[in-house]
Symmetry: C2
Subunit: 282 residues, 2 copies
Amino acid sequence: MSEASVVSVAFQGEPGAFSFSAARKFFGPEIHVQPFEQFRQVFEALAAGIVTHAVVPIENSLYGSIHENYDHILQHGFKITGETTIRIAHQLITRPGTSFEDIRRVFSHPVALDQCRQFFREFPHLTPVSFYDTAGSVKMLMQQQFPDAAAIASEAAAEIYGGLILKKNIEDNENNSTRFFLLTKQMKRAEKFHSADFWKTSLVFATANAPGALFKAMACFALRDLNLTKIESRPIREKPWEYLFYVDVVGCIQDRSVRKAIHHLGELTSFLKVLGSYRPTT
Amino acid sequence: MSEASVVSVAFQGEPGAFSFSAARKFFGPEIHVQPFEQFRQVFEALAAGIVTHAVVPIENSLYGSIHENYDHILQHGFKITGETTIRIAHQLITRPGTSFEDIRRVFSHPVALDQCRQFFREFPHLTPVSFYDTAGSVKMLMQQQFPDAAAIASEAAAEIYGGLILKKNIEDNENNSTRFFLLTKQMKRAEKFHSADFWKTSLVFATANAPGALFKAMACFALRDLNLTKIESRPIREKPWEYLFYVDVVGCIQDRSVRKAIHHLGELTSFLKVLGSYRPTT
């Protein structure tokens, strides 16, 4: 059995959710997926070996980092082996046979409905109706015989459930995108590494509560001319004035300068964890 | 007419929403508020002078920074004049007369329902029902005569609409809290400033795309022994490899060292905006 055929991916949401699209970007359309209701369950499935990988959103261009998933990654000690970004584009989807003139009600998750306000202003005879999931609203539409209903969900949701896209990209903000991590239990065996390739390495660390502690930590990278693509502080609840820092540095853990920077950082931090090195999938 | 009597606050959501609780923390329970459906409308109301202040969430301990509201603040050039943090605690609320044994359906915003999964696991005979708003579901409950329904919302929502709290703090994660900014159109006339008081100053800046640019920017603070309580990078969509940085520094813009640090920072950045100096309300 080849390795590819046993790959399976846990994600949160229904098939057709944006996490599902991210999983297909990593592994292609034939990937075997296992949907879960909650992020917690996604991580537990990977921990239990029910799946080989998990795909989770880690930050959104409008709504920031999803700290909950950083927490789960740290708690389980999983490794990031891939990264991709999905544009959050919403489609107006109906059962084949329903025309735009028939529609009165539009089902979707309230967050998605909220991201299509311009559309509802333009067509005030359409009533938004809250549903538990975007892709789930397409699934429901195909099962029910509502003559007056549409759903708002992804292109993948339309494809999976056989829905028809009546209007494309009806979201208000075209700058809405979500970054996803591909996770495994253990770091992969080193693949052929070319330092010319574009890699990122994600770290989490905490500094002692001392003036300039973060500045010194940043020096580990700056002194080695290593670029950062992300830095974010997060208060540690139980310890006022102490912070976790999420940092993404350009380079692979196999790069000598990245390795040295991380060793150096270890001297200056009270906690340090390498979450993984990966090549972004575009 | 005293100044206090003309203060009015725009916020997003229904009365009883967490933003409403934040407004009351700033101004007391008698504050005149004006609710809006969308953040965009909240900012427009302040711009148009319909209200004197706006209160908006800016980051959540589990879900990160609300970039959308940073964007609105920058776009309108509003000033931050206050900050407070509200713990997101969910209450099970019914009409007086309904007992826990009567309940079969529980209405709330899906995000709130999702944050009470443990509760629904414990009482599997209760069905969560999505509604457009947390506080709105209490309002609806009081108007309808459902004998079998409850809502999940804040303590303030129960109080405002005359609901009864049957179970307190049913949220899964007690570490869920949201930080709010109080905004005005112009910086207030300098109030009596004691450098011994605890102040924060919030900045947004962009650095040129050069190695070590952020490190140099951080030096402006570290060299003056100024502590940061937040640093966060945000990619600038139109400019690959360039970033906005959100920084909160401990100190008031009237502190000499803070002023000097900001002048220094201006030499090193391609964009710099002081969003405001404020004393956090606890």
